[in-house]
Amino acid sequence: MTRLTSPQELNELRQVLSAGTDSRTPCIVICSGTACQAGGATRLIPAAQKFIIGNQLIDKIALRSTGCHGFCEMGPFVLTEPQMAFYPQLKPEDMPRIIEALLAGEYVEELLYKEPSTGQPYYHLSEIPFFKSQQRSVMGFNQRIDPVRIHDYIALGGYVSFAGLLARNAPQEVVQQVKASGLRGRGGAGFPTGTKWEMLAAQKSVGGKFLVCNADEGDPGAYMDRSMLEGNPHSIIEGMLICAFGTGANEGIAYVRKEYPLAIQNLTAALRQARHLGLLGKDILGTGFDFDIRIMPGAGAFVCGEETALIRSIEGKMGEPRQRPPFPIQKGIDGKPTVINNVETWANIPLVFRHGAEKFASVGTQGNSGTKIFSLVGKVRNTGLVEVPMGTTIKEIVYTIGGGAPDKFRIKAVQTGGPSGGCIPAEQFDLPVDYDSLRQAGAIMGSGGMIVMDETTCMVDVARYFMGFLKDESCGKCFTCRKGTQRMFELLDDIAGGRGTPQHLTLLEELALVVKDTTMCGLGQTAANPVLSTLRYFRHEYERHINDKRCDAFVCNELTGAACQTACPLGTEVWRYVALIEKGRYEEAYRVIREPNPFPSVCARVCGHKCESRCRLGTTGGDPIAIRALKRFVTDNTDPTVYKPVRTRKAEPQSQKVAVVGAGPAGLTAAHYLSLKGYKVTVFETGSEPGGMLVSCIPSYRLPRDILQKEIAALLDENITLKCNTALGRDFTLDDLFARDFKAVFLATGSDKSWPLGIDGEGRAGVYSSMEFLKAFNLRGEELATGHVGVIGGGNSAVDAARIALRQKGVKSVTLYYRRTDQEMPAYIDEVDAAKEEGVALETLVSPVKIRHVEQARKEGVKVEDAVSPVKIYSKHGHLTGIDLVRNGLGDVDASGRRRPVPVEGSEFHAELDTLIIAIGERPDSETLTAMGLEVNKDGTLHVDRETLTASRTGVFAGGDLVSGPAMVVDAIAHGRKAAAIIDRYLRGADMTMPAEIMQPDVFLEPAAAADAAEDEEPVRVPIPMLDAAARKTGFDEVELVLSAESAQTEAGRCLRCDLPFTRRVECEEDKAL
């Protein structure tokens, strides 16, 4: 390379270079950033080269290996120019096809990036949602240049604005322009860069002035500085040159951590090339201006990102901060004035001069100009580097660009700014991301790390993780930072380990505030942020750990135990019976299942199996154990009498009397356990038989009635009197009960009143609420559905109703209408699938607008008007004939993290219906309770103290759906059992609050022998056998069948046995004791 001797020569070189590049030449762009290299990009390049050379295509196609493009999740990937087709996650053998397609102007469809939800391929980079909403003014250069080729950078106009400044000899322009651009430091604090430079320019110094590029990026999860250094080192060099020219600095230092070998390598090459071209060193571009940059590799201490520690590190001393003032701008390296800016700040400088300060300032918001790169990581679909204008909302970044949650778990927070930053809860995702808004919300911009967290992230654990990081990375000089972080970690570790007390929380908060207040440097002052911000927004999680000894994210090991057990509302020792099944010890397995659950056969069929959704096999990427099917296998194959309930007290004639109102799962469970404790229980039931929702709603093809009746009959012993056809409010009141010497009352009347749609015409014939429809059939055998049937709703009762309708005579078709996508249906997914198999058509993203009953009514000779009030219709002969529906589009993300259904104008359509079933939810029928003076919540549920289940009247307890709203059977059983324990405590005069217990496996069971080495196939989740779809459509035989002994044992053998770390420990300790 010849040395350039004037700014003019640089311009000429640029013109030659630009003329030599034709944007129409096909080019294969391979990302060779660190992430893509790790993904295998280094094998793609030789594969491409080999094919190009082997087929003599050198003249026809170019190959460029570039720095990071940002979509690291999809690496290694290839971009084709000029098509701009994006091929993610490639293998070397894919390269020839891509090159051939590119030369032919075609696409390799199956390799293109596809929309994850629909599978639609994207043909152009700019259509991909991840890139679409970004504004990549800084990062964008990465894909257009090879970082080790200075000519690529110059061809795109690099160094030209610097040369212009030199040619005009206008150093005063530099500070002026940067100030006008409003650029603020990208390192995190957001100090105005122009102001800083102005101060440096004003400093008088004999020994020279320093510029430092701070590339000591150490936040866990942030890597934009590395990508900039790797992908476009010249932009940083140019930025520093401009500053040096404007402020009179003569030495530049790039402080890069040693862990970034590729960044150091590319920057070294760039510096060498710039020196060769006469852009660095003595007499730059022949103008007599001297400036050089050297690389200072840092040893990777997080604290060295703090400017005074960084200075000491550069000076060769221990990296520990010192008192400011004096600021580095006055006394920096070797006592000389020093400006320290972050990599991204330097990379922004050429942009300011390329397009002008005004244009730069027009991006972003007032006081926060330009774009900012974030590294979007964590529980989000698209991870990678994202560049957006300042002031973009978190929602936009996380949902539009990031694609939202990758799993079914809801996103609950975003952590910004690394260990010094804080969390922002999902409710505040409308917050614009800029320095000031984030600070107000208790977080900081930091260098731009953005870690997305969902329900499987425990905030106590997050705080604990960051504090662990900080206690290791604090320099240790300030006593409060060193000891404070260590002590905060200890306290958090105690809380996460179930040893926390309310005093821990007080002390933690006190300490955090003092650490924030009393340390010297930024690290210490922000070290308490992870604690303070999680306490601010997620205090309930701390309290749950401390008071209830539960970690709802199932992260904290000591509190989670075996996740299947802690997830179960009943605390069933799932791991234990699964292990017993594997060993063929079915009777023992039955006892383990029956012990906490008086309805084992019912739960084996209709349980919502929270255990499966938290199964470690499932949460770590595999398929969870089919726990419910295993339970079914045991309950179907074991004689229930192998379990003998333990009677703690004998009922005497003078035993205290307890009334249970409602013979559903909650009521019967409470009655059963109360009876075991020696109480005389009378159960009052409105219906003609016991079972509650189990008989009235759940279809018999899911829960055969003989099985249910047997299970109930086994619970009713001599202490329990069942009184059917007796309704609270109609036949007796609470006062009556107490007058008849009942000492306590447990209300479990359930939640069986359907919510109305709230639109005209709901009272017409042919329109039923799901409860009405289900009860009519299940209890009385009435078939209400005829002709074409529509069901509105997406919950379990909607699906049950649709499937029952399908089995009724005279039904031609059944359609289920739901307002969101089928992915978001609250019904159990296997039920939805089963319904689809049976022929239930599913129309999603549809919501009803109007119900019509024109045709039928006219035939009957009734004059009908469009706008009629529901009261009138109810009393006349109107019969439903069809409904109008409108299609929904996906709108904004709501607080639940799901996108709101928004009606699309003009998309209305008509559906001819003879029956409409409305199943959009249920509420308790609590009017009678209000009349009896009990306090009722807004949603109709009875108000109780969550801890003790006590209602607003002494001696009255409540549980089940009446308290929780519609929930799972297992939740009701759990309430019933808890109520029995609490009522017992109440009647004995003991404290009603149950002490929280840590639930951990405590019985050791030998793990299964390791599978044969020959079997390299991982066993997969056993498919649950079902009746043939055609056969089951016509009848009410049980749809699900039971597993064979062999498949049950294989399935049980897949268990990861999360119990072993706990039970083994017991064993070890016992050994030690011996």
């Binding site: 008192q323 290791d472 990375e473 240790g476 006593f479 000891k483 200890e490 207040d517 340390t519």
Partner: protein, 233 residues
């Protein structure tokens, strides 16, 4: 000369002085642990924090390192300062319960409890010994090693230093008794001075057990027992 206000009192001090100097000039007491005349100010122990600035700008700084500025307003014993100082003392007590200096300071500040897990580090890493060795004894035999909670003081690689002249300056300045008060194990003790002092319980009527720097001397317990026995009689 620079004019500033400390606790409302105006003072004029030389440029380049620290707040600690200025407060000392006016006679306002500020406790220190890592500070010593003749050694470079270090600002590590944070016990000398004072509050400067007003409103939202108010912040706590270490007075031993912070230079005075024209018009500065300093509060040496505001609520915020005292609250922080108490917490610092609690942390110090948790790490170095046997230091007489720390015990006395804690007692003077009314710290009556220590809520953390008790440690016996016998060193607060104030760095007085390091600076003494280097700046006054011109040796530089010891220094800081590692960072974060692993930070410690010693010779490089724990090898016996050739520059150390066994002058004892490091021990002389130590506020945490690292080498002085291992009284319970006499073979390790250097001076044994502390162990020869009369226990405070012998002189005081109601002594808070927790605050006894002689823990586990139990002399007071014996006396208490004797008193109770007397009362019983």
């Amino acid at each position: 000369m620079i004019t500033l206000k400390i606790n409302g009192v105006t003072a004029a001090v030389e440029e380049g002085s620290t707040i600690l100097d200025a407060a000392g000039f006016l006679g306002f007491p500020i406790p220190t642990l890592c500070h010593m005349e003749g050694l470079t100010p270090y600002g590590a122990c944070r016990i000398c924090i004072v509050e400067i600035g007003e409103g939202v700008q108010a912040k706590l700084v270490s007075s031993c390192t912070y230079p005075v500025a024209e018009g500065m307003k300093v509060r040496t014993a505001s609520k915020r300062v005292l609250r922080a100082r108490k917490m610092i003392l609690e942390l110090l007590l948790a790490s170095c319960p046997q230091s007489k200096v720390i015990q006395d300071l804690a007692s003077a500040h009314g710290v009556r409890q220590q809520r953390f897990k008790q440690e016996h580090e016998d060193c607060i890493l104030c760095g007085l010994c390091v600076r003494m060795c280097k700046e006054q004894m011109m040796a530089g035999a010891i220094g800081f090693r590692s960072r974060g909670e692993k930070r410690s003081i010693g010779t490089p690689f724990d090898i016996k230093s050739e520059t150390c002249r066994l002058c004892g300056g490091c021990i002389y300045v130590c506020p945490a008794c690292q080498l002085r008060c291992t009284y319970t194990e006499p073979d390790k003790a250097i001076c044994g001075g502390c162990a020869n002092l009369p226990p405070p319980c012998a002189e005081k009527e109601a002594f808070d057990d927790m605050m006894c720097y002689m823990n586990p001397c139990v002399a007071c317990e014996i006396e208490k027992d004797a008193k109770t026995a007397n009362m019983m009689e």
